[in-house]
Symmetry: C2
Subunit: 176 residues, 2 copies
């Protein structure tokens, strides 16, 4: 597919804690970008973990492999001309760097969704924090597994302070 | 994407020995199907082994994992409305059955590219058989690793007896 738009063949990588708002923002952004006629692919961490990454757990090694495979899948869609919106906690900088390397430095845009842990835990959309506090889940990012904040993201969103609409508009403004 | 054509959201899975002609046929078929306006994705075994499956070897276990991941990737493109042309030696019936199960029975069409080993070896497009005979490669399908022929493929192509054009026309006739 020939390039028609600067966002064709690109990957917008959303990183942040569980509950920070990665999927919410990516879903809204997808709607806006599709209105521009762009082919958009939403690559969701949970969906991959139910399929190609179903054999992986949450150890450091498995998290890395989770991100490596995600980046390879993103690359395949990217090479088909899609603008890929990838939503992965992706807590380790080394893994995000590997994703950038696999996908290509020019094609990879990192969006850090910043949100205080307490707010994520209060939202608890998937009920995961409750399970963590009940001791049913371990190796959970932000609780007993670290989240390394991006050191130089292309965009930072403060999802606790910005509305979804404002955040999406900011992303669009920065990317287009 | 709404269904527009019976081959939208389908996977045509080419199985057969190395050198049987899987990629040649799929590449030709891609051209023909794209002329019908269908979104086609060529999912090639070698390409995946250079990316998402780069961590896998050729043991029975790794071959199975290779096919499992390939089927999951095929499913992602399939769900985007693509007609996926997947070319994998996929020597074990259990793995092809798993692929069919992952992708969905209605969406999965198995095309067996039949070709005598001696002919594949004579063609030796990638120079692999030469390496096998020199002892540089082991676990090679047809030589020291088995190929289980499909018991009830949707289509069988005898690539030693049919021209590429005739084979592609037969596949089109059977599928459309």
């Amino acid at each position: 597919m020939p390039l028609k738009h600067p966002l064709n063949s690109s990957v917008i990588w959303f990183t942040g804690l569980s509950g920070a708002g990665k999927t919410t923002l990516a879903t809204e952004l997808k709607v806006k970008l599709e209105q521009l006629g762009l082919p958009i692919y939403l690559l969701d961490g949970d969906r991959l973990r139910a399929g190609i990454n179903a054999d992986l757990g949450f150890s450091h090694k498995d998290r890395s492999e989770n991100i490596r495979r995600a980046a390879e899948v993103a690359k395949l869609f990217c090479e088909e001309g899609y603008c890929v919106l990838a939503t992965f906690i992706s807590p380790f900088e080394s893994d995000r760097n590997l994703a950038r390397q696999i996908i290509g430095f020019d094609r990879f845009k990192e969006v850090f969704i910043h949100c205080p842990l307490a707010v994520c835990e209060q939202r608890d959309v998937k009920g995961l924090y409750k399970k963590v506090r009940a001791g049913l889940i371990t190796h959970f990012t932000g609780i007993d597994s670290p989240y390394e904040e991006p050191t130089s993201p292309d965009i930072t969103i403060y999802s606790n302070e910005q509305s979804v609409e404002d955040a999406v508009n900011l992303i669009l403004k920065k990317l287009l």
